[in-house]
Structures are given as C-alpha cells and as structure tokens.
Symmetry: C2
Subunit: 216 residues, 2 copies
C-alpha cells in the first residue's frame, strides 16, 4: 500500500483538495521537519508541547525525561502529532484570499513507551540520525544512568494525513483588475556556519557530515 487508508479520524476536513494520504509525501514531511508539536490531554485540558521526533518505518518516535508531563501523559494515551513546514506567504489582491504555502502532517494514535532495550537504542539512534546523519557514531553513547532518566515512545503512523498548499493566490475574477501587488514571499529554513563550542578540545575539526547542513 502506497497510501494510508482514509477514515473518519484522519480524513482532512477543510479544503480537502489539499489533502494527501500517500506514504511517500507523509514520510518526506516527517523526515524533513526537525521537530513536531504533540497534543495531549492533561487534567481535561489540551496541552501542546514542541519536541524532536524521528521516524522508524511506520512508527513515529519521540523521547523525554521519565519525569516529564509529556512522557507521563502520552504513554498508552491518544495523542495528536502535528508537523508543519512553512514555505511561503501568499499575498492576494483581497485580504480574504491571503494565505500561506505549507506542508503539514497530522497523526492520530496511541503512544506507548518502548520497553525493549534493543528497540529503545535503535530509537535513540533514529532520533540522533534524524537531526544529523552520521552523528550516532560520533558522540558518546548513553550510559546506564542516562538511559534510566529517559523514556522513548513510539506511535504507529497510520491515521495519517498530509495537507499541502503550494500555489500563487487565487483571487476573485473582478479583483485581478485592482492595482495591488500579488505574489509569494518564499520562506525557508536556513542553517548558519557551525559555531565551535568555546571549550572545544584543540585540534578537533568540524566533521564532514555537519558541513553544508541541509534538510533536503
């Protein structure tokens, strides 16, 4: 199956022509984004927490301190994970048709703490390599004390949808004659020159895999 099945949970409700349920599209957006926003319910109120994530095949992975509200509240609970990449500001001739170009993914499902130690280490590796491929073997691995403090959760990527807006403005017919500028201001995430830690040990160079950092 190249596409997630559409059901009452993941069906895009608004402007459904922008919806995309293909695995390829959904995985690409998840993989490009550096972090997600996770929605949980705590004391009957919604809470939205930004956190780093990774993907292992059809599982979304995130982690946190055992003691954190995100981890304690997410385990065995329904959560919503939303990932948003902003691509442009769309300026129309009317205010009504102003919008943004974006690629977003929304995932619904139950999260669960990973208890298997090997699976957990694979998940740690996935999170590290999600941010910087090559880094896992180029830093000290977690020790027992560190592992005890941290929980890793997984959530199946199945009730998934993407929504993509990538277009010039669509104005009302009469408005094209108006004397207002219309178009797109592109928005990108960019990465600066890596900055050495002031306490960097002498003789250590920036590793190749961190040069010209990009998410493409």
């Amino acid at each position: 199956m190249n596409q997630y099945s559409i059901n009452s949970i993941n069906k895009v409700k608004r402007i459904s022509k922008k919806a995309d349920y293909s695995k390829k599209t959904i995985h690409q957006i998840i993989d490009e984004a550096l972090f997600c926003h996770i929605g949980i319910i705590h004391n009957d109120k919604p809470i939205v927490i930004p956190t780093i994530h990774a993907r292992m095949d059809d599982q979304l992975i995130f982690h946190g301190a055992n003691a954190s509200r995100l981890i304690r509240t997410s385990d065995q609970s329904n959560i919503c994970v939303t990932i948003t990449l902003l691509d442009g500001l769309v300026m129309a001739r009317s205010h009504f048709h102003h919008s943004m170009n974006y690629r977003s993914v929304v995932l619904f499902g139950k999260a669960e703490i990973i208890s298997d130690e090997l699976e957990r280490m694979d998940a740690f590796k996935a999170i590290t390599e999600h941010v910087a491929p090559g880094r896992w073997n180029d830093a000290r691995k977690p020790n027992e004390v560190e592992l005890k403090q941290t929980a890793v959760l997984k959530m199946p990527i199945d009730n998934a949808s993407a929504k993509i807006s990538a277009k010039f403005p669509t104005d009302e017919d009469d408005d094209y004659a108006l004397d207002y500028w219309a178009g797109i201001i592109p928005v990108n995430q960019s990465y600066g020159e890596p900055e050495n830690d002031p306490d960097l040990k002498d003789g250590i160079e920036l590793p190749e895999y961190l040069k010209n950092y990009t998410r493409d």
Copy 2:
C-alpha cells in the same frame, strides 16, 4: 506589571531555569512567529492545528472559516496555543546532552468568538499587519459575503510562559576530553525574493514594505 503572574497552570514544569514570564519576552516571541499550533479537544481526543495568529495587546487573535473544526471547537473552550521558534542544533560530546536552542511560548485559556464588528475588523487588520506591516491598506478589504464566512477568536494572554534555550552544550566533566566535535548549528528562518503572481497586472511593482522582508 511587566510579568505574567505564575500559577499552577502556566508554571513551567521541566527545566524551570529556562522559564521566562516577562511580558516583553512573551510578546516578542508571539510577534516574531508567523504561526502557532493550537491544541483543542474534540470527541475526547487532542487535536493540534497550525494556524496564523496575531497579538492585540494582551489578546491572542486567530481566525478561520465558521464551518471549521478549529473555530467550532475553540469557541468558549479551553485551548492551548504553542509558538516555537527554532534557533539552533546543539551538538554535545554525549548524545544525552544534545539539544536544540529555541524560544517558545505556551498560552492556556478560553477562546471566544469576537462578535463586535469593529473589534472584529481590528482583529482582521492585526492578523494582516502581523504578517506584513503595511499590507492592510494595500489590498481589498473583506466584503459582507467574506465576513460572513469567517470567524475571529480572541484569547486572553495571561496564563502565559516562555521557555528559552540559547547556549552551547553543557557536557559531563569527563567528556570534554573526548575527541568529538561540539558546538551549535544555527537555524534561521529566511525569506526569498518575492515572486510575482503570473497574472500580475502590468505596471505593478513590489511595494516597499515587502522588500527585504524580515521578522526581526
């Protein structure tokens, strides 16, 4: 008061030394971000929806189609609004101390549809000017039909907190001797050359206020 009062709702739970409750800091983060993530509860499950916002003094403003789930579910309900600006990838000598530099704001409160027509138009203007100061008077204003389709909500900014991480990695003492690179990869949002709508009317130039677009 230069600071929001700290209570059980908005008190930052994790790594509280990163917390900031000053109005100035919180307003700056809200004003710089182009969009937020709103958490709502629908059918007993959390949903997180990205949307554009603006600030009018101590009110957060957002809008949407009257028919949308976000609008229908938010009115008179407790919501959570989270805004996250990513500033850098922090590479430590141990995986455990890898992190990100960021500025985030979390707001808790009840949203409410703005019914007063003048206040509503002010809110529309605030949203437009939040994205592009100068645009409100340089596009066609909403007409009656458009106004009928759109709801604008406000939420008091009071149960508010910011969390800021802006630092080089802090490693375990023993790890500074390891031969791993450590430092920061800066992350920025950048803006490309504005692209004219292919149907742009002849003779219309890019307005001054959209040249060298920035959020600083």
